[in-house]
């Protein structure tokens, strides 16, 4: 079993007006096998937390720690974090010119595993995973995310999740922009990844719909750069009914 531990994390970004604090002391521990849902209003810092875990250079950690089984994640380069078993399914996956999906997937798998996968098995695995996620096989020869629709990009993120088998997956609004069928397809993919390999999941979402397919063990309410409340799956239903009003400062 592995543990991803975030302790009193403070993160700021450089803006034109100077440094701005976005995360104001986040603490959260995720163990493999657990699913944590994170919900919260727009701009509360959910993507900031996700990107900080992945190591995006825009985010400056001013204090606090992130550790993976005791190892200092913040000291690792972005690629090293991925090789250590962290995976971020991005809210807005990036289009990479000139690199075919096939080439990209193989290169990434090789980097993560430390050796090239056996070509025969790998090709089979990729095909099967694509079929499961109802991704047109033709996508394999297209450039990474280039010209993919919003929903297609999300599926391709989950394709990678299934193929790379991380210890911890952070899914940043993977459900946004998916149609009803795609939501089910993607949720099945996440569940397969969670079952197949022992995986811990941080699921950032605005909607309880996906939580019907991916059952959270814990729900965290994120407000203004902090976790304002934690609870079980029922907290999500309550949020859906009541909104975030009671967490927001009076008069805001």
């Amino acid at each position: 079993m592995s543990t991803l531990e975030i302790k009193d994390l403070h993160v700021s970004i450089d803006t034109e007006q100077g440094s701005k604090e976005i995360l104001k002391g986040v603490s959260l521990t995720i163990k493999t096998g657990e699913t944590h849902a994170i919900m919260g209003p727009n701009g509360s810092g959910k993507s900031t937390l996700a990107s900080t875990i992945a190591g995006h250079p825009r985010y400056n950690v001013t204090s606090g720690t992130i550790t993976l089984d005791g190892d200092d994640v913040l000291a690792m380069s972005v690629d090293k974090r991925a090789r250590a078993g962290l995976f971020l399914a991005m809210q807005y996956p990036v289009e990479v010119p000139g690199v075919s999906m096939t080439n990209f997937l193989r290169t990434a798998k090789t980097a993560i595993e430390g050796e090239a996968p056996s070509l025969r098995h790998w090709t089979k695995d990729v095909k099967a995973a694509m079929a499961n996620l109802k991704i047109d096989p033709e996508f394999a020869s297209r450039n990474v995310n280039e010209g993919f629709s919003g929903g297609e990009k999300k599926r391709v993120e989950i394709l990678q999740l299934e193929l790379f088998k991380p210890k911890f997956a952070v899914l940043d609004e993977t459900d946004s922009g998916l149609d009803v069928d795609a939501l089910k397809v993607v949720a099945d993919g996440v569940n397969r990844a969670a079952e197949g390999s022992e995986m811990g999941t941080m699921l950032i979402t605005h909607y309880t719909r996906i939580l019907r397919y991916i059952k959270p063990d814990f729900v965290h309410v994120f407000v203004d750069g902090r976790i304002a409340e934690q609870g079980g799956p029922d907290l999500a239903d309550r949020l859906e009914e009541e909104g975030y009003d009671r967490f927001l400062p009076v008069g805001a």
Partner: protein, 425 residues
């Protein structure tokens, strides 16, 4: 600022039959330089950008002066439509003085079916497929003492010729080469440029009836070389030329490959690959002149740029004349900007004078490899060096694959590696 030149922009279009005969499709212009009213975007370019092609002779590629006589060309100011991107100061005087130095030495490797002769400039084959299109080319034509003529014999198959030009110094020189692909021959000609030189080069390709000629011109010069090259093809009935340009060496390289059709059913493919490092100016100006019916042309040039003041220019003129019914033509230029401070200019120009064509289109994109691309790839475990390599190799591979000569492809892959390694630190 040169920002607009490095933004990700895209433009694609493909036309079947244009609505109006004489319709001119204006290419996208990615350079702020081009948008400047004066002095760099003078009257000609303004008239040009209005399109319509209505009686603006000097805006049409058809109106460009060609002549064997140097004195027919005016002295260059740098404001001419076809010189406005070229830093004349770095041209080593090739536009001013007659080049009198010794031309690069030529080493050849010829298979059966290929013969090489050295002839006087009065030989009938000189000028059979080309005519200077600018002052520099005419200057070289006038100054060349002799020409090499490479002939691929009629009906010969699998002919291969490698011509390696090694520049020996920085004294301005001129050289002339004529490649004759006789009827129904099949040949591959590799023209390799290495060493240091200040050179005006005129190359003619006479691709005769039913012949298929593949040309690979590699500009692998030392860092200081200056090279102004005209490469013109005349393509006969049912003949085909595949012309591939690979440019990565030299301080300033300016090539003007062009293709003209001398019969119906001819086919032209032009591929190019360039890789510009800090301070390099690599310019490619193409011209495909469709003047006969039922010919096809396909152009794809791809370039990568890295470092401060790496500058590439690509201009693709495609002219489909009234007589060129049934033409099918496509041209594309794609650039990948790897670092800040580099600049890619890309200008496709498509002029269509007949409504009766099979298709004509153009595309121009300049993409940027930026921190977000890098982050995405790294977040999948790929280290920075590998990420950069992945992107550049993938991008250039489309053109490298076209070469079809394994040793050469390998050499180019190695070159790309070396170029990338240069910025690793």
């Amino acid at each position: 600022m040169t920002d607009t030149a490095t933004e990700t922009t895209g433009k694609e279009s493909r036309y079947g039959v244009p609505a109006i005969a004489g319709f001119t499709e204006e290419g996208e212009n990615l350079s702020p330089l081009n948008e400047d009213s004066s002095p760099l975007g003078g009257d000609a370019s303004k008239a040009h950008s209005h399109g319509g092609g209505a009686g603006v002779p000097d805006s049409s590629r058809a109106g460009r002066l060609t002549s064997y006589k140097l004195e027919d060309f005016k002295a260059l100011t740098g404001r001419e439509e076809d010189w406005r991107f070229t830093p004349l100061k770095r041209l080593g005087g090739l536009h001013k003085k007659a080049p009198t130095g010794a031309a690069p030495t030529l080493a050849t490797e010829l298979s059966d079916g290929a013969t090489l002769e050295t002839v006087g400039m009065d030989d009938a084959r000189v000028g059979s497929a080309g005519i200077p299109e600018d002052r520099v080319s005419a200057n070289g034509w006038n100054a060349a003492a002799e020409a090499s003529v490479l002939t691929i014999g009629a009906n010969a198959e699998d002919v291969k010729a490698t011509l390696t030009y090694t520049g020996a110094g920085m004294e301005a020189s001129a050289q002339h080469l004529v490649v004759v692909a006789e009827p129904n021959s099949r040949g591959l000609v590799v023209i390799d440029h290495v060493g240091s030189a200040v050179l005006i080069e005129n190359i003619e390709f006479d691709v005769q009836e039913g012949a298929e000629l593949t040309v690979v011109s590699v500009q692998a010069w030392e860092d200081d070389a200056i090279h102004a090259g005209s490469q013109q093809a005349k393509v006969g009935e049912n003949a085909k030329i595949k012309h591939i340009v690979v440019t990565f060496g030299g301080d300033l390289v300016r090539l003007t490959p062009s293709a003209r059709f001398a019969g119906t059913g001819a086919k032209v493919e032009m591929f190019g690959l360039y890789f510009a490092d800090p301070g390099q100016h690599l310019e490619h100006r193409l011209f495909v002149d469709h003047s006969t019916p039922h010919c096809t042309s396909n152009v794809l040039y791809k370039g990568a740029l890295q470092g401060k003041d790496a500058h590439t220019v690509w201009v693709g003129d495609v002219l489909i004349r009234a007589a060129a019914e049934g033409t099918d033509s496509y041209e594309a230029n794609r650039n990948l900007v790897l670092t800040d401070g580099s600049r890619a200019d890309s200008v496709p120009n498509l002029e269509i004078e007949t409504g009766n064509i099979a298709g004509a289109g153009h595309a121009s994109t300049t993409g940027r490899f930026d921190d977000e691309h890098l982050f995405y790839l790294q977040s999948r475990g790929i280290d920075e060096k590998t990420a950069r390599r992945l992107v550049v190799r993938g991008f250039l591979n489309e053109v490298i694959q076209q070469i079809g000569v394994e040793e050469l492809q390998e050499r180019l892959n190695e070159t790309v590696e070396a170029e990338l390694a240069a910025t690793d630190n």
